[in-house]
Chain length 384, copies 2
Amino acid sequence: MKIAILGYGTVGSGVYDIITNGKPQELKKIEVKRVFARSRDKMPLATDDINEIINDGEILVVVECLGGINPAYEFIKKSLENKKHVVTANKAVAAKYLDEFVELAEKNGVKFIFEASVGGGIPWLVNLERTRRVDEVKRVYGIFNGTSNFILDNMYRNNEEFESTLKTAQDLGYAEADPSADVDGGDVVNKIILSNALAFDIHVDPDFPTYSMRNITKNDIDYLKQYDLAVKYIGETNVVDGKYETSVMLSIFGKESQEAAVPLNNNIITLDGSFIGELKFYGQGAGKLPTGNAIVQDIVDISEGASRVDVVINNNLTYTEELTRRNYLVRSSVKLTGNLIESIEEYKGNFYIKTKEISLKQLSRLVNDVKEQDSKYVVAKFHK
Amino acid sequence: MKIAILGYGTVGSGVYDIITNGKPQELKKIEVKRVFARSRDKMPLATDDINEIINDGEILVVVECLGGINPAYEFIKKSLENKKHVVTANKAVAAKYLDEFVELAEKNGVKFIFEASVGGGIPWLVNLERTRRVDEVKRVYGIFNGTSNFILDNMYRNNEEFESTLKTAQDLGYAEADPSADVDGGDVVNKIILSNALAFDIHVDPDFPTYSMRNITKNDIDYLKQYDLAVKYIGETNVVDGKYETSVMLSIFGKESQEAAVPLNNNIITLDGSFIGELKFYGQGAGKLPTGNAIVQDIVDISEGASRVDVVINNNLTYTEELTRRNYLVRSSVKLTGNLIESIEEYKGNFYIKTKEISLKQLSRLVNDVKEQDSKYVVAKFHK
């Protein structure tokens, strides 16, 4: 089976290396015919003319590793319209145009699959699909972003500040020069949108509660450590009785939990099924070979004609911000009062304000009050 | 697709309940026609004549939930010979007769699959199979037995002794009246044999180093706690350059590891792949609905014609006990000496003897010396 790879950066070259150097027999059936890239210096198969790929009837699968929205969107669309299967690791374009891609793929009798876009090398989406053949999923949550985990883990274990840790992450190549996607939530938002699609058949806009982790300090970590607690950056969706609720924010776990034990830039993602209970999947959520591996798994599924469950978007669930009630922790220089507050503790010049069990909607109002007076506030959920 | 369930105990009734009460569409295509059980009181489909099942041409899948070797062995064999797919959760019979069942299934053009036999509800074997389509697995290890984990976790968190904890586990139904399979290694031995088959294409006899956890005491746990260490009961196989080494024994982990964080009767199982690195799978390793769920996944795979990888046993690897070198900890009333010993510490009347980095073969000689003088010794590996 002949394929083309769009992009020859970290992920694209990882896919190429695994297909050409991997030992399993399944890989021998796959041949990279073309690579969409600017220069032939490093890659003799390179072409900078996308039409040489789109119009090549021999190429059955287009593997999109460009990242970003443009030209990835156009290339994926054209590939599907030309009856080519598309495999991508591009969470941004997949999360934004999922329903369009799914519809186009169905219309043209091809597959649009995106295992590597969530959890990198972790076989998360395929297991989520598989679980749903037998069970109902009630909840998904997890550490979807390795950079934010690297930062929080380093702050926790090495008692460092956010800024110095971010610098380390940037020096190691884990974080971009502009870290916003990792620390303000954009990356996790895309990944929870894609997880929602496979877990609950919904394609949602990114306008659910999303709180940055940018203001977290060593002081905050120390405060939580006193109570044997650790904080992680979590995407989460809960479903009850036809309603769903999604959020991306810092969440507080006991230090003996699986989540607290996730080191460095690893990910852990959980599904909770009615029969199966909690299943957790842990591994490398990014990187050349792990991400490349997940992409090649998708390619092998197409090559072997494996029965992947088709993505169905029926949007049968109703959005709410009043589904779950949780205790939240707000750290601020402002001493909040009111009937949503359970307790306030002062620790090294800051107020640590624990709310009663309130809804995301109530939290949102509370945070709006804080924000006006203290832009450096932090908010975290007590995980339950 | 019509199926028969052999046995209507915990697992068999779980399978029946999921198929008849589960909501996913895939389940509607499956019909339980017969159940092999003694009494029709609880189960109107019951028959105590296995031939009514074996000779029924409508029944395409036989789901063996009897446990134990006999009559499970004969029933599986007859089912395969009668060209019926067989799904089982029975690790004992699968580990013992794997090559025979695999050969019989191939000869008769049917499947023999056993997802639920290792890790209960955790999709471990299917992900191991899947990983190998793209990657080479170098190592598998993990907490394969929930009862032993329940005991060690309770001893660690609640400072209890082995005997009182075992009693609690028995009262909760986690441990049998005779706990030997769980605490002396038999259960983990079967599960690592089955994991070895899928990870490395080998079907091995259960004569590799297996050390009981029966002698562990609160004192041992306390000793390790001083160093921020926890102990878990681990099955492990390593492969290097055409050689393999397997063991079942207590293993010592840092208290911040994923393994140390596994609570109650949960399991966590890890594979280490050349490209993918470590992937960990966590969940309920036993119980009516988790185990039933894994069995029903196998049934759905058959029903949907899913491309499960066929088990291949080529036994191309050579057995050795000299592949890895590790530090071990021996606790004994005997003060060992000799050139394999790195250090000895006395703690509350016992000697805690740390070996140099030695092979399993060297460990075996050392333990033989100890055993003669102190039958209550404990041995554990420092996990690396």
